[in-house]
């Protein structure tokens, strides 16, 4: 048996195949990321704060706390305004104001993520004994997808095919038949090796998924009920998520064993690698395409359903429609497999696997593998890997920019107006059009001259040097695009793009990308942008009281300030952002350190930056104009005043 194992893994390079597939699996798993809500991605700390507070079973006390918090979050803006007025009127002093306003201020900052948690509470409260509040991103990624794992299936097929085929193709079968142990013992060992390898590869790939997702987002609270995930809300299986994962792995192991039996019997009957590979691929992959979304795939006597595994635990799901009489009806989209059915199916699969293995043994007449002295094709394999690496260089989104870091921009004005040497540029938000008026002749030129209707809508402009930059969004799609228009010849160039454009679904086997399902996510793409500017490293834009920073190299988005009073003064100055927060204080985002400071002694709704001075109207001094240096290092010191 050790010799057979060595033959498959070492001499037939099976270990190299497994290694390549594992490497690709790790890369793909990490690059695909995890299921998430974009609001959580922009404020993970806020989300963690609320989840850690409320996770677990919904008790009366917890429900009360959530409802109180909901009320408090909803009224936070009003309370802050009220406190601010009382302070201005002198009814409370500064220390009282700061201590009272702090919690409202934090609530307002985290209101978006709280709403995400609140939506989860709404789901959980329908069945509080079965559904728990939790951070479900990791478990949802691990348990909710029934897409075929192409690399895993291909790895199984490639490793298991040579088990019997090589002997037939090299003609060694007749020699083995005549040997002492060639008939039955060799056959049993081969089948055993096939099963062991199938089980090992299944466990390995499942572990890779588990480890990668745990590393990316965490798989905590695995002891919570499975129904805590919305996809399993109707599931008939009252088990924990850890148990569900183990069950799915066991289904996959059984599926891998069944696949091993199928491939062995195909190999024995056909005696040819190519036919075995072909039939193995067809039997494994085609059912996913033919029966996508249909529960029938889990009933077929093929390994496809088992290798996916998750569908056995799903409940019945429905899709809404309107019938011909105009009434709303629910149609079954996926029919659940009940416990009795599951038991019967698993028993059937076990029997089927056993029968196939017995059939293999009966048909098999001993072979051995003649080792061929193949030349090492390492160069070719390395060459292919190099090609893949080179191709990845083409995937990039940035071009050379011309913006410098040291400049000052009034963000409120700059999203709608701008000037170059020759033109005054204006963005009409209602018409989503940018026009340039020639300063000398007064001629008005449309800068957006596309004859065809466009999916993307312009949301803001930023004029700098002799270039007009504009930010566009596609409704109901995540991501933004930034274009540059050269005002000399009106040439348009893409500067940045993080819209996911590839909608390829591999003949329907992958779920659709770039689809925002959540209602609040759809709304966000229609919310106005209140600021937009960028420098060499980052793009900044403001939406829904948040200033978002995008790293132009990596495309990573972070929320740098989440308490911005929209449509109040906002300046970009030499890498730092100055804004008015919801407590009417001057807030500064320091670009170098990445930190946000609130200058407690400056209460204003209007300020400007001229040279290196911030001029502001002091709300507590009858709007008298005061000046302070535009130096975040100094302003952030507690003893500044």
């Amino acid at each position: 048996m050790a010799f057979e194992l060595k033959k498959i893994l070492i001499k037939q390079r099976g270990i190299i195949v497994i290694f390549i597939m594992v490497l690709l699996k790790v890369i793909l798993t990490l690059s695909n990321g995890y299921d998430s809500h974009y609001i959580i991605d922009q404020n993970p700390d806020g989300y963690s704060f609320y989840i850690n507070q409320y996770k677990g079973k919904l008790t009366e006390k917890k429900e009360q706390e959530i409802k109180s918090e909901y009320y408090a979050v909803g009224h936070a803006a009003g309370e802050l305004e009220n406190l601010s007025s009382r302070w201005r009127e002198g009814k409370i002093d500064k220390i009282q104001y700061e201590s009272l306003s702090k919690e409202y201020y934090e609530r307002q900052k985290n209101s978006a993520v709280f709403n995400v948690v609140y939506n989860q509470y709404y789901y959980v409260k329908e069945a509080p004994d079965l559904r728990y509040i939790m951070d479900n991103r990791g478990w949802s990624t691990l348990l909710s997808h029934d897409n075929p794992d192409f690399l895993f299936l291909l790895c199984l097929i490639l490793i298991l095919t040579p088990l019997f085929c090589n002997e037939y193709e090299s003609g060694m079968n007749s020699l083995l038949l005549s040997s002492r142990n060639g008939k039955y013992r060799t056959g049993v060992y081969k089948l055993l090796i096939g099963i062991i390898l199938a089980v090992g590869i299944t466990v390995l790939f499942s572990l890779i998924e588990f480890i990668c997702i745990n590393d990316m987002v965490g798989l905590n609270d695995g002891g919570f009920p499975l129904q805590s995930l919305e996809l399993f809300q109707n599931s008939d299986y009252y088990i924990t998520m850890n148990q569900a994962f183990i069950a799915i792995v066991l289904f996959r192991i059984l599926g891998a064993m069944l696949l091993a039996a199928f491939i062995s019997i195909l190999g024995i009957f056909t005696g040819k690698s190519i036919i075995t590979l072909f039939l193995g691929s067809v039997l494994t992959f085609l059912p996913y395409i033919f029966l996508k979304g249909n529960s029938l795939i889990f009933f077929l006597p093929l390994p496809s359903g088992l290798l996916s595994g998750v569908g056995y635990l799903w409940g019945t799901s429905y899709i809404s429609s309107i019938d011909q009489s105009g009434n709303a009806v629910n149609m079954v989209q996926f029919q659940e497999i009940n416990k009795a059915g599951l038991g019967f199916l698993m028993a059937g699969f076990v029997v089927e696997t056993g029968l196939l293995l017995l059939c293999c043994l009966k048909k098999y007449s001993g072979y051995t593998l003649r080792f061929k002295n193949h030349e090492v094709r390492t160069k070719m394999i390395c060459g292919c890997l190099c090609m893949i690496a080179v191709c990845s260089i083409f995937i990039g989104g940035c071009t050379i920019d011309r913006a410098k870091d040291n400049f000052t921009v009034n963000a409120l004005d700059s999203i709608k107006y701008g000037k170059t040497d020759k033109y005054n540029i204006n963005f009409d938000a209602a018409k989503r059009n940018i026009t340039a008026a020639n300063k000398k002749t007064g001629e008005i030129i449309d800068l957006i001259r596309e004859p065809f209707e466009q999916d993307a809508e312009i949301a803001a402009i930023f004029v700098h040097d002799e270039y007009c930059y504009y930010l566009s969004r596609i409704p109901q799609a995540e991501g933004i695009r930034v274009y540059e228009i050269d005002m000399k010849n009106f040439e348009r160039k893409l500067i940045f793009n993080n819209v996911r454009e590839n909608k390829e679904d591999l003949f329907g086997t992958l779920y659709k990308v770039n689809v925002i399902k959540n209602f609040s996510e759809k709304i966000d793409t229609y919310l106005p942008i209140f600021c937009f500017f960028f420098n060499k490293e980052y793009i900044y834009y403001g939406v829904d009281s948040r200033i978002v920073r995008i790293d132009r190299l990596t495309g990573r988005e972070t929320v740098v300030a989440s308490d911005v009073a929209e449509w109040k003064s906002l300046f970009y100055h030499n890498g730092d952002i100055y804004y008015v927060d919801k407590q009417h204080r001057l807030g500064i985002f320091h670009g170098d350190s990445g930190k946000v400071y609130s200058v407690d002694s400056v209460y204003t709704d209007q300020f400007s930056i001229t040279g290196d001075q911030v001029e502001y109207k002091d709300l507590f001094d009858n709007n008298e104009i005061h000046r302070i240096p535009a130096d975040p290092g100094r302003l952030s010191q507690p003893d500044f005043y």
């Binding site: 037939q12 390079r13 195949v17 690709l24 192409f150 291909l154 490639l158 095919t161 056909t270 690698s273 190519i274 036919i275 590979l277 072909f278 691929s281 067809v282 085609l286 395409i289 033919f290 899709i319 809404s320 429609s321 309107i322 019938d323 011909q324 009489s325 105009g326 009434n327 149609m331 989209q333 061929k372 193949h374 030349e375 094709r377 070719m380 292919c384 893949i388 191709c391 260089i393 083409f394 995937i395 990039g396 989104g397 001259r449 004859p451 065809f452 695009r481 000399k488 010849n489 009106f490 040439e491 348009r492 893409l494 793009n497 454009e501 590839n502 909608k503 390829e504 591999l506 003949f507």
Partner: protein
């Protein structure tokens, strides 16, 4: 040469397992088309109703109305539909309409009547009637842009707008047919997957088998064994690919015609709403033939890649593995053809699978700016595949003929010194 070609065809493709696989795949393809026809689209926005006992009357209404309205769009036909739509809309708009069975209605229910009239007749007719006006606006804007960009020396935008002005002017739709079945036929791609699997089955063992059986040395030693043999193998692959594409394309066309009724084969491509901005002005049938031709080029290019792997690698398993990975990578890369980033677009140009998506290549004006030149994406894809195919062919010649020959000619030193 022809005899060798015939023998190659017989040896590689006319084998029982390939014939069985081909026949089975034809049946699988047909059954999927039928399954989709019976099940229809799901959800609110689906166009095709399922075929069941509930929908019999609606399908009868659909067919009878199309018999009445298909053909040249006249004012009478348009008026009839507009009036019916208005009448039904006024009934259902307040939501208080009767949901009871109405024996004197078209479908038996007022809501059903409204949906049928508006979705299948009113909306398509409205699109047809307003198309020429919208198209003229596009041309007018393009003409303005030509003068503008010429003034400021923007060569790319000028060329692009000239192309638009040339190709989109004078467009008019004068006929009314149900264009959705044609759209469905163009979007149907399951048969492409089956062809790809058959290519793997037929082409992977091409050179590998000869290496495994040591026939490669014998073939190279023969008169026609070097370049001619490689050329014949490539020609046989082209024949195999062409046959598969024609067979499945014909099956798809016949199945769709029988099930959905593909009428109006002479109507312009832009009569289909999805293709309203297509740069092509040919008929829908001509477009289908163009798609078939593009698929032959794409499949052949992929086939040559499999050939190259087969000539480089010594085992079927490795060739199959790398071919499958390349296939998946190529399918994914083809999704970048609509990307706004040049780097990702180039990836899609290099993938032969991009040419299998003729429906997406020509659904709108896909262009790219390379060194200030306006270039159409489909032409670049075709050119790239021709170039890569030529390069791959040269590599195949080198690896399968010259390299093997060079190794076979080198004798061990001991044998040379012994005078063997």
């Amino acid at each position: 040469m022809l005899r060798i070609f015939y023998f190659e065809m017989r040896k590689n493709y006319l084998r029982i397992f390939i014939i069985i696989a081909f026949v089975l795949f034809l049946l699988v393809n047909l059954s999927l088309i039928y399954k989709n026809y019976v099940n229809g689209d799901s959800g609110f926005t689906g166009y095709f109703m399922p075929h069941s006992a509930d929908t019999v009357r609606r399908w009868e209404f659909y067919r009878s109305m199309h018999e009445k309205l298909d053909g040249t769009l006249t004012a009478e036909k348009a008026d009839f539909i507009i009036n019916e739509n208005k009448r039904l809309e006024s009934i259902v708009s307040d939501g208080a309409f009767s949901r009871e069975y109405q024996p004197d209605s078209y479908t038996g229910y007022l809501w059903g009547d409204y949906v049928m009239i508006s979705k299948y007749f009113y909306d398509p007719m409205k699109y047809i009637a307003t198309y020429s006006i919208n198209s003229d606006k596009i041309v007018e804007k393009a003409k303005d842009n030509i003068a503008f960009y010429e003034k400021y020396g923007n060569r790319y935008e000028k060329a692009k707008n000239e192309f638009i002005a040339d190709h989109y002017s004078g467009r008019k739709i004068t006929v009314f047919y149900d264009s959705k079945p044609w759209e469905l036929l163009f979007d149907y791609n399951f048969s492409d997957l089956l062809i790809l699997l058959l290519l793997l089955l037929g082409l992977v063992p091409m050179f590998v088998n000869e290496k495994e059986t040591k026939m490669s040395n014998l073939i190279l030693a023969s008169k026609n064994g070097k370049i001619n043999m490689t050329l014949i193998k490539v020609m046989s692959a082209l024949t195999f690919v062409s046959f598969l594409v024609f067979a499945f394309s014909c099956e798809n066309m016949l199945a769709f015609t029988y099930l959905y009724g593909l009428n109006g084969h002479a109507m312009p491509l832009y009569a289909i709403e999805k293709y309203q901005y297509s740069p092509l002005a040919c008929s829908v049938l001509a477009f289908y033939f163009l798609m078939v031709l593009l698929k032959i080029i794409g499949f052949f290019s992929f086939g040559l890649f499999i050939f190259l792997l087969s000539s480089l690698l010594s085992r079927v398993i490795y060739t199959y593995m790398v071919s499958s990975l390349f296939l998946v990578g190529g399918i994914y890369a083809s999704g970048y053809m609509v990307s706004v980033e040049l780097g990702k677009k180039v990836l899609s140009f290099l993938s032969p699978v991009t040419l299998l998506k003729g429906n997406e290549l020509y659904s709108k004006l896909l262009d790219t700016n390379i060194l200030d030149n306006f270039l159409l994406v489909p032409y670049i894809c075709i050119l790239m595949q021709i170039i890569t195919s030529s390069i791959i062919f040269l590599f195949i010649c080198k690896t399968s003929a010259f390299k093997t020959l060079k190794k076979a000619n080198v004798l061990p030193e001991k044998e040379i010194s012994n005078g063997i």
